[in-house]
């Protein structure tokens, strides 16, 4: 699971072009969206949908419903595990 989380962080940095950040800058449980944490927004949620599809083969049809899944690295990892 922790391996998955580290991998996710690298993929987030790659997918969102956050090359100034390192995986260590992203905490497992801090919110990815909003003004705290990484300050991501709805456009980045679209990138996460692409990320889940291209790296994990998981398709999300409704971008709005995915907000909870994308709350943090923890919640994304839980979701990916549950789909395995």
């Amino acid at each position: 699971m922790s391996e998955l989380k580290e991998q996710l962080k690298s993929q987030i940095i790659e997918q969102l072009n956050l090359e100034d950040l390192t995986p260590a800058d992203i905490k497992n449980d801090s919110p990815l969206f909003g003004d705290e944490g990484l300050g991501l927004d709805s456009i980045d949620a679209l990138e996460f949908i692409v990320l889940l599809d291209s790296f994990y083969g998981i398709k999300i049809e409704d971008p709005a419903a995915a907000r909870e899944i994308f709350h943090s690295v923890d919640s994304m990892a839980d979701f990916i595990e549950s789909k395995k």
Partner: protein, 201 residues
């Protein structure tokens, strides 16, 4: 009109009102200036080069804004460069041609005026904004635009020449101008002098 502050950023240094405030030797100089300034603004990492450069140039000018009144409505952004958002354009093309996934987070930065949006969000300023494409920095052009802006009723112009495409000659030159009764015929020459001094540092 009166210049009340100016800043300059390039891959070698960051400057405020003629004074050097940081020196860089590393490739990622924007990240270096950002961390030195200890700004808490996570959105910075998502920005393209144009927005990052102007965000830092604007932050350097923060003391110049302190005593200004009505900035939220009466300050206009006048920005320009020669290559628009070319660096991000190329990266977006790569996202669909090579990575086979058109990237929305890159696409939203494929317009040069996005940097004015970022500055407006940061300050909560609702004033006018415009972005021009010029072949090179032209002080007379900026002076004309500033004069016309003041005639329309604005009181300040935050201007910028932001040519950033990941090249050694990248630069972000910003200057803040206030409306004033003082007639200054040589402002255009003065702007050229300021920029040339920065370029030769």
């Amino acid at each position: 009109m009166k210049i009340i502050g100016h800043s300059y950023i390039n891959p070698r240094g960051a400057f405020l009102n003629g004074q050097n405030v940081s020196i860089a030797t590393e490739e990622n100089y924007l990240k270096k200036y950002f961390s030195e300034l200890e700004i808490d603004y996570p959105k910075f990492y998502k920005m393209d080069l144009l927005s990052k450069g102007s965000f830092l140039g604007d932050y350097l000018l923060r003391d110049s804004y302190k005593d200004l009144l009505h900035v939220e409505n009466e300050l206009q952004f006048i920005f320009a460069n020669s290559s628009s958002s070319k660096e991000t354009d190329i990266r977006f093309i790569e996202s669909y041609e090579i990575k086979k996934n058109p990237s929305p987070s890159l696409f939203v930065y494929t317009l040069p005026n996005i940097l004015t949006g970022e500055l407006a969000i940061k300050h909560k300023w609702f004033g006018e904004n415009i972005f021009f494409i010029l072949t090179k920095f032209d002080s007379n052009f900026f002076i004309d635009q500033i004069e016309m802006s003041f005639l329309r009723g604005n009181e300040y112009c935050l201007c910028g020449w932001v040519e950033m495409k990941g090249a050694p000659e990248d630069e972000c030159f910003m200057f803040l101008v206030a409306k004033s009764e003082v007639v200054n015929d040589n402002l255009s020459n003065k702007l050229n002098e300021i920029l040339n001094t920065y370029r030769n540092e």
